[in-house]
């Protein structure tokens, strides 16, 4: 594989066992260069286990994780140089102020003079005026932003965001989303785990839905919605009818009838199947499916 085609992150059949518990059961996917890839799943699905393997906090029982072609277990230093990581839990670093923490963090990655980069990141994350504060003096949102700043200070090619907006207020969440979009615009590859499906829908080019250590679906957000969700179509007729026969019918009587149809089915096709035309219609309401519908469907046992 040529260097230009090498994915930013390649996960190959990764298995992780904690004693008898299988946290990851053969997970595979790639994150392409410049792509924002969402990893969605309920608590305990295996998202953080996978992130821990990528940053080498844990070792995979089986399988490989590669960052820009560097295997994290055989060439960890090369892999880590290209990696920025924002952990799910806040890291405190109690002795030092914000600016010192970022200088040290840059140094850990071999970068000694980073004043300009630190200023750019702190301003971008609205932390510049707080640069002389210790971590304990920062609010929860500021701490979260500091962690993102740490992950970016050495200019990684791949950013791992493990639930970056958990516990963050709405206004700040919007700001962080804008910042992530700005980073994406600059070509940074991002693996994002989140509980906020709105976040994934807005930011991610592709998502994978993980449940009980297995990838249940993977693809573009639009594609997944079309493939796995249903749209709700409510027809209000000009005159009441006694019955309508259709496999997608959910409920209805008289003038109002509700259907759950495939996302790809058009209104015209539905009306044709019902042997109705537009003259019979007083009003139509269509509720599009969402990533949340996909998520719920795929993470509910027995339905995937």
């Amino acid at each position: 594989m040529s260097q230009s085609n090498t994915p930013a992150l390649s996960i190959e059949n990764v298995v992780k066992n904690y004693g008898p518990v299988q946290a990851l059961q053969g997970v595979s996917f790639d994150v392409k260069k410049g792509e924002v890839f969402g990893l969605l799943g309920p608590n305990g699905a295996g998202k953080t286990s996978l992130i821990s393997i990528i940053v080498t906090l844990e070792k995979a029982t089986h399988g490989r994780a590669r960052v820009f072609g560097h295997d994290v277990s055989t060439h960890p230093r090369e892999a880590k140089l290209n990696l920025g990581w924002v952990s799910q839990e806040i890291i405190n670093s109690g002795f030092f102020d914000v600016e010192e923490i970022l200088k040290f963090h840059a140094g850990y990655y071999g970068v000694s003079e980073r004043a300009d980069r630190i200023e750019y990141i702190l301003k971008g994350l609205s932390l510049w005026e707080h640069r002389k504060k210790k971590v304990k003096q920062l609010s929860g949102g500021m701490k979260r932003r500091l962690m993102i700043a740490k992950a970016l200070v050495h200019e990684p090619g791949l950013l791992l965001l493990d639930e970056p907006t958990a516990g963050v207020d709405v206004e700040l969440r919007m700001k962080l989303w804008d910042f992530v979009e700005e980073l994406k615009g600059k070509g940074l590859s991002i693996l994002l785990t989140t509980h906020y499906l709105e976040e994934a829908e807005r930011l991610c080019d592709r998502v994978a839905i993980i449940h009980k250590g297995q990838i249940r679906a993977i693809g573009g957000t639009r594609m997944l919605i079309e493939e796995w969700s249903r749209k709700k179509v409510t027809l209000r007729l000009t005159e009441p009818v006694q019955s309508l026969m259709h496999p997608d019918l959910v409920k209805g009587s008289g003038q109002e009838w509700v259907f759950l149809t495939a996302m790809t089915k058009t209104l015209g096709e539905l009306l044709q199947e019902l042997k109705l035309n537009s003259a019979h219609l007083n009003d139509v309401k269509v509720d599009e499916g969402s990533l949340e519908d996909v998520f719920m469907r795929l993470t509910q046992e027995g339905k995937a």
Partner: protein
């Protein structure tokens, strides 16, 4: 864009600098408190009780005590520095940052141990200066250093050994209790029974033989030889034991880094 990246020296020097800054930020705890305790030891044991003790070879007890306390301060503080840095990082979570960063195990070990050694040497030097003041107060003159290079070598070897032990125990420890247990039940008795306050020649035969298995006896007597020019054990034997102890503790520290836990408590 980053123009220059040096992953050989910059990570090592950054972590070393961070460790130094860390103990400087809490200087009351890391240097002033040991200064107070050393002063108390010297005043009570060296000046007050020491004036009533006469050693066989004519060395004043205060002169005998000073090298022991210098080494004890150095060892204790080297151990405390590396272990408390790791333990506090386990609490705050930033130890995971070290694991996620492109450090080699050797870079982490040497950064932490050399910074711990610096703290040990600072405390050792402060203890020595307080000892000199007490000696001047008692005898109207300052002590001379018989073999400065020997003194420095043993302080460095001992400090690095204890820094490495601090790293080992802190990485292995799963709870704060385990950490305290090693410090209180193993290291402190070894230090106190290593001849800080007394000569092993004064011990009964059986206990003297037991003491010879304590590596700290050799380190402390190495420092004593460096300061006084005489000690309970042969300085070359002391050097060999100290070097061996250093290599073993370095191996233990590297092993603990590979197998121990970086995860937060």
């Amino acid at each position: 864009m980053i123009k220059r990246r040096d992953i050989r020296w910059t990570p090592f020097l950054t972590l070393f600098q961070r460790e130094i800054q860390r103990f400087v930020k809490v200087i009351v705890q890391t240097v002033v408190t040991p200064f107070v305790s050393s002063t108390l030891y010297l005043m009570i044991f060296g000046v007050s009780l020491g004036s009533q003790i006469v050693l066989q070879d004519g060395v004043p007890y205060l002169a005998f005590l000073i090298p022991g306390l210098v080494m004890m301060g150095c060892l204790n503080n080297a151990f405390q520095n590396s272990s408390s840095s790791i333990i506090s990082s386990k609490f705050s979570g930033d130890l995971e940052d070290l694991k996620a960063a492109p450090f080699s195990p050797s870079q982490i070990i040497w950064s932490l141990s050399l910074a711990a050694l610096v703290r040990g040497l600072v405390v050792g030097t402060v203890t020595f200066l307080v000892g000199q003041c007490c000696y001047y107060f008692m005898y109207g003159d300052f002590m001379s250093i018989a073999a400065p290079l020997v003194l420095f070598s043993f302080l460095v070897l001992g400090g690095l050994c204890f820094a490495n032990l601090g790293i080992t125990v802190a990485f292995w420890a799963r709870t704060f209790d385990q950490m305290s247990a090693v410090s209180g039940f193993i290291l402190m008795p070894l230090i106190y029974l290593g001849g800080v306050f007394f000569s092993v020649d004064h011990l009964p035969g059986f206990w003297r033989q037991i003491s010879l298995f304590n590596p700290l006896l050799y380190m402390i007597n190495g420092v004593r030889f460096g300061l006084l020019g005489k000690s309970d054990v042969d300085p070359m034997t002391a050097l060999a034991v100290s070097l061996l102890a250093f290599l073993i503790t370095l191996g233990l520290a590297l092993n603990s880094l590979r197998r121990g836990s970086f995860q937060r408590w």
